[in-house]
């Protein structure tokens, strides 16, 4: 029964995401672009969500995304790799760096971990500025080529982006990566790995008492988180066709957290919903100019006061309970969502 519902829900979702939306916005490249950005931001936030899941608040996701972006840009522009190779390469490099950094830093808990990862974002920015021979310094790497054709054994899997409507192409590529990312996340959370991650979130000592290799699992979680950031960053940079030290900043790192929190930590889809809602409403608030950050901050404070478990905790009269299962009990917290 639940399986049928899950399948039904998933296909309905895919229908909206992959057919309805592109069709609705086929003539509006700006909105398509915004939706693509929202997709990739939700992908990057998914990593932060996973870190929440093991009980760590990662404020360095912007830094990892920047690493991914720069890796892709350098692989493409300096080594002449194709975008597709660079995309994988960027994910890989980000993962390697996250493991190296994570081994010592994951021992820190709570606000310490947050503060140090916050510094990681700044470290990434300053590193990008300080090694001009590789990163082109503060000038950034410009004019990155659009993704070329992806061919396997002579068969064109994906056409050259320059030859088709690039807004559509990027939308679908972004959607594909996002779906892939969230599907993996869903599997992780619902497999034994998810159980173990939840056990880390709740009590690392207890987990290690029955033989869980806590440090290793923490690093695995961070590596997955970084893989999302790296791939997302690489995609984003290619979409923008340029990368700068300011492409992902301290501000972005906080926004990623906020997306997760807004959507709700209790559901795998929290990051997705949060990123879409916040990013799109942000775009709509543009007209209010200088009041925009103020409104944004009020939303944020209001959320904390009245909707601490995120948008997905809002009870709909007809909801069938697919999500609470997906998220598992980990974040069904002691706190009850108050009504505004």
């Amino acid at each position: 029964m639940t399986k049928v519902k899950t399948a039904l829900g998933a296909s309905l979702f895919l229908l909206v995401y992959l057919v309805l939306i592109p069709w609705l916005f086929r003539e509006q490249p700006y909105r398509l672009g915004v939706l693509t950005t929202a997709s990739v931001l939700s992908l990057i936030s998914a990593g932060v969500w996973l870190m929440f899941y093991i009980g760590r608040i990662n404020m360095g996701q912007g830094g990892f995304a920047l690493v991914g972006g720069y890796s892709a840009a350098i692989l493409v522009s300096k080594l002449g790799l194709s975008f597709w190779a660079a995309l994988i390469g960027a994910g890989f490099i980000t993962v390697v760096i996250s493991v190296l950094v994570g081994l010592p830093l994951l021992r820190l808990k709570g606000v310490y971990f947050s503060m140090i990862t916050l510094s990681l974002t700044e470290t990434a920015r300053l590193t990008a500025q300080s090694f001009p021979s590789l990163t082109n310094g503060t000038k950034g790497i410009l004019n990155l080529p659009l993704p070329g054709a992806l061919k396997i054994a002579g068969f064109t899997l994906i056409p050259d982006f320059a030859s088709i409507d690039k807004h559509f192409a990027f939308y679908f590529l972004g959607a594909f990566l996002t779906i892939l990312g969230f599907a993996s996340l869903y599997r992780i959370v619902n497999s034994r790995l998810g159980w173990l991650f939840r056990s880390l979130q709740q009590n690392e000592d207890l987990a290690s008492s029955f033989g869980v290799d806590v440090p290793r699992l923490r690093v695995i979680a961070l590596a997955i988180c970084a893989a999302f950031a790296g791939t997302g960053g690489a995609f984003f940079v290619t979409m923008q066709q340029s990368v700068y030290p300011a492409t992902f900043t301290f501000q972005d790192s906080t926004y990623f957290l906020l997306y997760c929190f807004l959507g709700g930590l209790g559901s795998v889809w929290g990051a997705f919903v949060g990123a879409f809602v916040l990013f799109l409403s942000f775009e709509m608030l543009q007209g209010l100019n200088q009041f925009q950050p103020l409104i944004y901050s009020l939303i944020m404070i209001g959320m904390m006061l009245w909707l601490p478990n995120g948008l997905l905790s809002i009870k709909l009269p007809f909801s069938f309970n697919f999500f609470s299962k997906a998220g598992g009990p980990a974040c069904k917290p002691e706190e009850e969502a108050g009504q505004p």
Binding site: R107, L108, K109, G110, V111, Y112, F113, S184, R187, I188, S191, R192, L193, W195, L196, R198, S199, Q202, N203, E204, D205, L206, A207, S208, S209, F210, G211, V212, D213, V214, P215, I220, P329, A330, C331, K332, P333, E334
Partner: protein, 295 residues
């Protein structure tokens, strides 16, 4: 006093642990034989908790060695110790509070899984079998420990006695050779204690050796094969319950001076040290220490 078998299950040799200037455990040695129930007792601040953490690898000793089946296991990570069969339990609050009782125990079957983590991710056949096996075994353990009725309750809503049992169930799930129980009888009334004693004996009868740290003298006297008594970090006596009950030093230690304060200091330092060694657990305690240390 006790005949030493050639290879005891666990042997600690000259174990010492210092926290700054304070010696929490001072040159303690003892051994536990396979199939035994060994209790470690002592007044507050005697260093029982520290010794417990040292034996289960949650702390690294300043000097001295720990052997398990003749193999040196000093300073290894706790999860390695668990893999070898040395499993500790915690006091009641340390469980996965937001999971059901059954899930608590299922998760704790970690070491028994045959499938790899990627295997679980992709949902291989082995992984599926593992899941099934864990559920069955977890149900069996819960039933055995009298938790069958509450298996689907969220752990944080369980009453005291059940929590203690759940903690032991988690320990059992890891398939221990040696189970270290942290004050399993604390805060129980006599009826509950009797039940708990039966439970612990039952576990031993399943082939698990047990070391327990305990306050409750009467329970200890009933259940233990042998007892080690600590005072001020030093071992002052070791022997059968009967022998211990008549030991001059022990009587003096228990009746002579009880020093609550020292326990406090001791515990706090234990926490801090633990934090530095392995995790950041001590954030809270260090910040407490800090604000007090206004220059």
């Amino acid at each position: 006093m006790t005949p030493m078998n050639p290879t005891p299950l666990m042997e600690v040799r000259n174990l010492t642990k210092r926290f700054g200037g304070l010696v929490a455990v001072n040159d303690v040695s003892f051994a536990v034989q396979e199939g035994e129930i060994l209790s470690v007792i002592g007044p507050n601040g005697a260093g029982k908790s520290t010794l417990f953490k040292l034996a289960s690898s949650f702390l690294t000793p300043t000097s001295g060695r720990v052997f398990f089946r003749g193999e040196d296991v000093t300073s290894q990570s706790p999860h390695i110790a668990a893999r070898k069969g040395i499993v500790r339990t915690f006091q009641e609050t340390t469980i996965f509070r937001n999971m059901t009782a059954l899930d608590n125990v299922v998760v704790a079957h970690h070491l028994r899984s045959r499938a790899s983590l990627p295997g679980f991710f992709f949902g291989t056949k082995t992984a599926g079998e593992d899941e099934k096996r864990f559920r069955e075994s977890a149900s069996e353990i819960l039933n055995y420990l009298g938790l069958g009725d509450v298996r689907d309750m969220i752990a944080s809503t369980l009453p005291h006695g059940h929590l203690r049992a759940l903690g032991i169930a988690i320990g059992m799930a890891a398939d221990p050779k040696l189970l270290l129980l942290d004050e399993p009888f604390a805060g129980m009334n006599s009826e509950e204690t009797t039940q708990a004693i039966r439970m612990v004996r039952g576990i031993r009868d399943r082939g698990v050796t047990i070391i327990l740290v305990e306050h409750d003298m009467s329970a200890v006297m009933t259940i233990s094969d042998r007892i080690v008594v600590l005072n001020f970090g030093k071992k002052i006596a070791e022997g059968t319950p009967a022998g211990i009950q008549n030991d001059e030093l022990v009587i003096e230690a228990y009746l002579g001076r009880e020093d609550e304060n020292e326990e406090d200091v001791n515990e706090e330092n234990v926490n801090e040290e633990n934090g530095d060694e392995e995790t950041q657990e001590s954030n809270a305690s260090s910040r407490k220490a800090g604000i007090e240390n206004v220059p």
